[in-house]
């Protein structure tokens, strides 16, 4: 980009930002529609199909409904933070996308424009830094609502996000070691055109750990304890209504989209697909590479919805045990194994096989230890379980 005139740089950046932000917003609408339709399909019912063809205009109707609802601020809330919290969740979700390369370069009017808003040399650290800020929106919204369900939801959510953030950060270190760069564009370029060259095969356990941690970070099922309806009404956004609630909602979907895009970049080869990204002239190949990236992200997002209707919710202690006793050791092992085998052999194949074997061994050891050290279940006494006549008398 060094030889590009400043004006072209600024103009192309503005155009890219406008397009990407709008794509994100449209993506949120598409996700809301597809989530409802796909869940309908998976549960053998119709889902919303009245507004527009196939119910496609349903998200717009929902948006209008949110806009025209009364913007209610309850009396008992801490007003400045209550108003600020949804924005503090939405803004990190929006600005993470700045470093995601959504395609190869495109040549317009003689200038080669990379399809990425900013290629900074610490790209993946930027993503981690900004996503780690999302937790403030949840915590502050929960606290400012001055409601016990909100606070419990917020505390659950923040504990969960802090725990899984570690796995999220450690799982990518293997990828960074083999790429020896933090820039997301370099990571995408380094992966070849064919699926067996992509990082998810070389770092398969890390890929699974990263994806799982991302589900937890975005508060999606099976990790949506922060808004477990049966226990906490709606969790941290119980007291929110109209557009403020919609902002929480949008941030959740935006996090999913950006998370999927980052995963595609890190592990699924970015915009590469059997060399298809090089077909056509300088303009078409750029557009095709963007299309490939788009389709990959969309497939990943479909898996989000698929998982939601397949897996039941974890219990809270299960969630913490899973995060700390399984995911974290797997991520740590992948660092050690990747580094050692890469230095010793320099072969991606050996690293890939070694990673899977090591992860299998670690999970077996942890599972074995857990089974052996399991405390005996406390015997439930009959008096705890049954309501005796004398207990009824006491209540009366």
């Amino acid at each position: 980009m060094g030889n590009m005139p400043l004006l072209v740089l600024i103009l192309s950046s503005i155009v890219k930002i406008v397009i990407i932000v709008h794509l994100l917003l449209i993506g949120v609408m598409a996700m809301i529609w597809s989530e409802r339709r796909v869940s309908g399909w998976m549960q053998d019912r119709l889902g919303p199909n009245r507004v527009g063809p196939q119910g496609l205009l349903q998200p717009i109707a929902d948006g209008l409904k949110f806009l025209f609802k009364e913007d209610l601020i309850p009396d008992h809330v801490d007003k400045p933070l209550y108003v600020l919290a949804p924005a503090m969740l939405l803004v990190p979700a929006l600005i993470t996308v700045a470093v995601v390369p959504f395609g190869n370069a495109i040549t317009l009017f003689g200038y080669e424009i990379p399809l990425q808003i900013a290629d900074i040399n610490i790209g993946i650290l930027y993503v981690l830094a900004i996503t780690s800020l999302g937790v403030y929106g949840v915590v502050l919204g929960a606290w400012a609502s001055n409601n016990k369900y909100s606070l419990l939801g917020g505390l659950r959510s923040s504990a969960q996000m802090i725990s899984y953030e570690l796995t999220l950060g450690l799982a990518i270190i293997g990828v960074l070691m083999l790429t020896s760069s933090l820039s997301l564009r370099t990571i995408a370029v380094e992966q070849g055109a064919y699926p067996w060259q992509w990082n998810f095969l070389i770092h398969f356990p890390a890929f699974l750990a990263f994806t799982t941690a991302m589900y937890a970070e975005t508060n999606r099922l099976p990790f949506d304890l922060a808004e477990a309806e049966q226990e906490l009404v709606a969790g941290y956004h119980t007291e929110y209504s109209s557009m403020k609630f919609a902002m929480f909602f949008m941030a959740e979907y935006m996090n999913m989209i950006v998370g999927s895009a980052v995963t595609v970049t890190l592990f699924l080869g970015g915009w590469h697909f059997f060399g298809l990204e090089n077909v056509g002239g300088p303009v078409w190949s750029g557009l095709i590479s963007f299309g490939i990236f788009f389709v990959k992200t969309a497939i990943f997002l479909f898996v989000f919805i698929w998982v939601r209707w397949t897996l039941p919710r974890f219990r809270y202690d299960q969630l913490m045990n899973f995060g700390w006793k399984f995911l974290l050791p797997v991520a740590l092992t992948s660092i050690v194994v990747t580094g050692t085998l890469w230095i010793m052999t320099g072969s991606r194949l050996v690293v890939g096989i070694g990673n899977v074997v090591a992860a299998f061994i670690v999970v077996s050891i942890v599972a074995g230890l857990l089974v052996m050290n399991k405390a005996p279940e406390p015997a439930i006494q009959d008096s705890d379980r049954q309501i005796t006549p004398s207990a009824l008398d006491a209540i009366e």
Partner: protein, 175 residues
Amino acid sequence: MNPEQILFILFGAVSLIGAIAVISFRHPIYSALALIITFFAQAGLFVLLGAHFVAAVQVIVYAGAIMVLFLFVIMLLNLGTLSAKGAIAGKLKGFAIILGILFAAEGIYIAVNALNDTAVASAQPATESVTTTTYDIGELLFTKYLLPFEVTSLILLAALIGVIVLVKRDSQEEN
């Protein structure tokens, strides 16, 4: 003024305002938030110095992790609004005055030097093209600063084990 100077003044001002707000707010949650803003402005200053890695780590570690735990503790303890004259202020008054005088002396020393353009002022990295990459930091950590690096990791390990021992003992006593 070039853009970098404008950004420096902006980040510096935000950092100072945030720092003052930390001790001015009556409510601990607002103080914690002001501290986060200060950390952010400092990350911006690091970026201006070309230390991108340090800026990212500043946000990840301080704004992203440590301050979340701070907020956690404040919320769980449910600390109310501090009264106009806290009980702590009286006890630590002498200490605060000494520290304040030291800090003021330091500030005046730097300001005087900067005005006279002597060594202290020109010691700051004046070349704008210097960008500390992650590669440079890694290389320095494993060559020149290997001993401090390893000592730090040992201290962290000791802290980690300490935490586990403390928590374990509590849960055993309960049983």
